[in-house]
């Protein structure tokens, strides 16, 4: 037995990462059929999005392209998902659409977390003016339904990807603030926090090294569920016309385009819709199992 403790122990979150990546954890991600399905969907959609340029049979169709002769063709060996009104291969566009959608969803979620979580931590730990100001501001934003807020902002700002991200983030961050504030309030009274305080550890240190870590499960669950809803919102914005603009391959936009050709050209709406459905499902199914993975105490049944 060597007398030295491994250097890894000091890095933040390493304890967590070690717990996450061992074999038991992997079993957790697949512990029942639904959870496994969720994980698989998330991984598959992510992979497909990343590998879109490689996997698409017609990468040039991703944006602007016209093939008049092949317009609105039903699915075939050449075009697995059929073609759209410009003759572009829908399969390729769905794949590329995944990139757009996922990029937006992840950007929105991360931005909202970056704004909302620190505010929630501070509001939960301190009482008085700081707490009040932060929570009231968050309340104002929370009072407005997310979609209306996003819609109005997006309409005001103009239809492009950065604006969509801003609009969706503004409507999302208060949710993190509220849940983090609630968790912080209760964690603040935990005995180990009291112990750290009596050891003279600074509040900032306590907030970010102790409390924040314990709020991660809630954040992750909310985040993964939020990704799902964000994807839907982005698609909605696109569908209405205030989101990204053509020729960007975005699933909502594609469904919007398909409207005037329905019900005949069923494939035009089906495949983007299916993509939305599967992606959102995957994140929601996986969100639950991730939360369970975070707590080391839930691992294993002691004799």
């Amino acid at each position: 037995m060597n007398g030295r403790v491994s250097a890894l122990q000091s890095l933040p979150g390493v304890g967590l990462a070690k717990k996450l990546l061992n074999r038991r954890m992997l079993r957790l991600f697949f512990r029942d059929k639904l959870t496994g399905l969720g994980t698989v969907l998330v991984l598959v959609t992510f992979f497909l999005a990343v590998a879109a340029p490689v996997l698409s049979p017609f990468p040039e169709d991703a944006y602007e392209n016209v093939r008049v002769a092949e317009r609105l063709q039903s699915p075939s060996a050449k075009h697995w998902f059929g073609t759209d009104r410009m003759g572009r291969d829908i399969f390729s566009r769905v794949l590329y659409g995944g990139r757009v959608t996922l990029f937006i969803a992840l950007a929105v979620t991360l931005l909202s977390i970056a704004i909302g979580v620190p505010l929630g931590l501070v509001a939960g730990y301190y009482s008085g003016a700081i707490h009040e100001v932060i929570m009231r501001v968050a309340d104002v934003f929370l009072a407005i339904p997310r979609i209306i807020l996003a819609l109005s902002l997006a309409a005001a700002l103009g239809p492009n990807v950065p604006n969509v991200i801003v609009a969706l983030s503004v409507s999302f961050w208060p949710r993190f603030t509220r849940i983090v504030e609630a968790e912080t309030q209760s964690l603040r009274h935990e005995l180990y926090i009291e112990a750290s305080q009596s050891l003279g550890v600074s509040p900032v240190s306590i907030l970010f090294r102790h409390i924040f870590v314990h709020t991660l499960p809630t954040i992750i669950v909310r985040g993964t569920l939020g990704i799902g809803f964000t994807i839907l919102l982005a698609a909605t914005l696109g569908f209405i016309g205030v989101g990204v603009s053509p020729p960007t391959p975005e699933w909502g936009l594609m469904i919007a385009e398909s409207r005037e050709y329905l019900p005949g050209t069923w494939w035009y709406a089906l495949f983007p819709g299916l993509a939305i459905f599967l992606t959102v499902m995957g994140y929601i199914l996986m969100g639950d199992s991730l939360r369970d993975a975070m707590d080391p105490r839930l691992r294993g049944i002691e004799g």
Binding site: G300, I301, G303
Partner: protein, 332 residues
């Protein structure tokens, strides 16, 4: 441990072996436990945490979930009936709460927070009560019996108590009610699982006195599980000492304290602080994990007087005296 006539024993546990199948392996929780409680006697079952005393108590009531538990062998006899042959349904309807009752350590969990004390005690009599002469009680006398019992446990204003909810009472008051509830159906055997561990010492002293008085009044038998040797001295007639799933020694209380035989008992008594002593000693080493444990005496690793034989050969029962049994190779 064995009296002249086996029939005088109310509870007999014969060679009970129990294991738990867990992710980390098979935990051999009980390894051939032999125990007997005579009619009208208070037997203490004492040991440290993890020794299996609570598991033994719960096994009598069939409350060990199987799986992950599994009874490997053994018999549990209540009077003339082998409890292990009974189905859960039979146990529930005929034994639990009527012939055998339990006084638990936790005072809040076992009481239903949304029913008053009166309702809960009334339910016991309604579903489990057997009156002294075998006939069902009349409703009025039920109420009287409850009040009498509440007075016997030194609860002032029993009428007021009946109307209260469990959360409105203190820990000491709740424990008295749980004791009253255990005595209410006039059971043959009461299993008390560390009922005073969580209480202040002055409250504990009162509770033990109440317990003694009620046992004397009703003549029931008690299996009193505890880790506190002082409590054993106060309330028990005989005591069995357990270590890591094995019974080390069984004797009348006075004999055990005056002349303990098993090395573990000796060391245990030495490490207990008490007003009579100024020194306490330690037991080096730690309690072994019960997975993949040696087949012989489980105190082997820490025993200052161990023999080679002890590791792999289980000691048998030796009668150091007519009523003093030791499970140790040093004596047989």
């Amino acid at each position: 441990m064995h009296r002249t006539a086996e029939e005088s024993h109310l509870l007999r546990i014969k060679d009970l072996a129990l294991e738990f199948h867990t992710e980390r392996g098979v935990v051999q929780a009980l390894d051939g436990v032999n125990l007997a409680v005579a009619k009208g006697e208070v037997l203490g079952l004492v040991g440290e945490s993890g020794c299996g005393k609570t598991v033994t108590g719960r096994s009598v009531l069939g409350l060990i979930p199987c799986p992950p538990g599994r009874i490997v062998r053994g018999e549990i006899w209540l009077d003339q009936e082998n409890l292990m042959t009974l189905s859960q349904e039979n146990l529930r309807s005929r034994v639990r709460g009527s012939r055998i009752t339990l006084v638990p350590q936790d005072t809040l969990g076992p009481l239903n927070p949304v029913h008053t004390v009166g309702t809960q005690m009334g339910d016991i009599l309604k579903y489990k009560g057997r009156s002294r002469n075998g006939r069902p009680n009349r409703p009025g006398s039920d109420h009287q019996e409850i009040l009498d019992l509440l007075r016997a446990v030194h609860l002032p204003d029993p009428d007021k108590i009946l109307a209260k909810y469990p959360a409105e009472l203190s820990g000491g008051q709740r424990q008295r009610i749980l004791i009253a509830m255990a005595f209410l159906p006039r059971p043959e055997l009461i299993i008390a699982d560390e009922p005073t561990t969580a209480l202040d010492v002055t409250v504990q002293a009162q509770i033990l006195k109440i317990f003694r008085d009620l046992v004397a009044r009703d003549g029931c038998s008690v299996l009193f599980i505890t880790h506190d040797m002082g409590v054993v001295a106060t309330i028990c007639d005989r005591v069995s000492v357990m270590y890591a799933g094995q019974i080390a020694e069984t004797a009348p209380v006075r004999k055990l304290f005056e002349s303990p035989r098993h090395p573990y008992t000796v060391k245990l008594l030495d490490s207990v602080p008490s007003p009579e002593k100024k020194e306490i000693s330690q037991i080096p080493g730690t309690v072994p994990t019960l997975i993949n444990i040696n087949k012989g005496c489980r105190f082997y690793d820490r025993c200052p007087q161990r023999l080679d034989r002890c590791r792999d050969h289980k000691p048998g029962l030796t009668q150091a005296d007519e009523d003093h049994a030791v499970f140790c190779h040093l004596f047989g």
